[in-house]
Amino acid sequence: MTTSRRDAPLIAALLIGVGLIVAPFVFQMFTRAPEGASMIEDFRPYMTPDQVEEFRGYLVEIDAAEAETTQALRPVLAEGGVDYDATYPSAATLNSTWEAIDTDMTDLLDRMDANIDNFAAVDALPSFELFPWFFVLPGIILAVLAVLALRARSAGRDGRGLLVTLAVVGVALVLAPAVFQMFSRAPQGGDMIDSFRPMMTRERVQDVQGYFITLGASEGELRNVVVPTVAEAAGYTPAEATTAFPATSDFSADWPTIVTDFAPMIAAMSDNVDNYEAVDALPPFALFPWFFVIPGVLVVVLALVSARRPEPVPIEPDHLPTTQGTET
């Protein structure tokens, strides 16, 4: 084996190290990964079964209030000759749009619900902010070891210790995804990213903001105008009106809580549309374990190949020492 052929495995290991260093820059991980970390942080309070159930409860409550508006309040006012849609436009908008709002919000909550375990898996991974360094640091170590081994070779030493270290780093790369359970968690993260894609768009977030306006305006109109008007017509006291229209009364009583719970969630969605896009632009999560395993295996193999002792070079007869020379 010539010197250049013997150095080839080390040069390949060096290139793998350089590749690991360069990869985060190519995939813009230094900017995108922290955005992912920020998204995980912002969504954490909402990705729990209790929180999702609470939001579902609000939808049930609003649904009941809307039904009561349609079935009880609206007919009373219509009987009195009131043009409900014109006189109470916000309440009327709730009636005309609630079905679509409910469907859309339920879909949103379904997506959150279905991804609670996936979110927990991703949240259990090391922080996204560290991701680029998981490539860069092993890459630097590999590159340095490969260079030192090459220099040792050129200086006539076998550099066996460096090769062993190189192999150990390769093994560590192979084992790292298993240690961090990346083979199960990373695909779960991928599933979550796929599932969130329809809801993490600027248009969808603006739709949800619009629902908030529709609900808030209608609740206020029901509380301040519609219910008091009907109560007055029916001769109810405020307490009697509360009993007569329990669903609407519950909606109004809980609305401040709904606002303070929903508003931060809408904020989390709105503030993370760009972060989501950054994470979505990263390579598929399911591939991430292989970004460590494949280089790790290659490095181990290359270290082993490089560590083989060179085969003795057969000496050709022409080069055998002779005694003839002494005769001359």
């Binding site: 903001q209 306006i213 808030g216 305006a217 206020g220 109004s252 809580t257 606002v259 303070t260 904020a267």
Partner: protein
Amino acid sequence: MKTRAILRVLPFVIVAALAATSCGSSSDDESAGTDTPSESTATDTDQETADESESEPMLEGELIGLFSIDPTACSDADVTGSYFRMIQPEGSLDTGPFVPNADSACADSSYSALSPGSDGGLLTGTQQLPPDVAFDDAGNGVASGLVEPVKFFGVDFALAIDGEAAVPTVTAVGDELSGDLSAWTAYYANLVFNQGAPKPDGTMPGLTSDVTGTIDPETGAYMLEWSSEIVGGSFNEFTGVWHLEGTFTLAG
């Protein structure tokens, strides 16, 4: 013995002498005023004129003091006084669409009435900071120095000055006003929304507009208005429109 007697009497003599001197002086002043009443009046008038001419230029340049907030009168289509409106995303300053606030007492519910807080209005040159705990348990904003909290969609929003941003300033040039109200901040539903112009980083996103207004240099009657687009959060890209009216009073 004689000496002791003199020492005992001496203080009384000194006090009596001082009193006599004081009375004499007072009497001189009174006689001067009585003798020349017209001169005295003229002098007072001259002084008032001088004060007025001195006060007028003081409503030039940076105005440090209180911009009191006149409560809103909005029971019909004509809205006067101070108010707040909110424009929906992709709307315009002229045509909205404006968010209806069903808790507004105005005939046009897109106007939310403002009334002065315990400080009487906006203080320039200082910071009307929110309380340490800016919200109650229900998420209502509780700051009440600048304006009284305003019910908006069932929850109170409060206004205060963000201590991290620039101290509010308003400048008069003739009867025109301009200013930096970048620290104007709303507290609502446990969330904080910058509503200043320009934004604290100096930018003017979306429909954010400069603080402009007018002032009557003689009376201090003023009008200030600006708009500020919300950046981020649950009301991302909604725009607050602020209109303040009242009277400016110099500090001190």
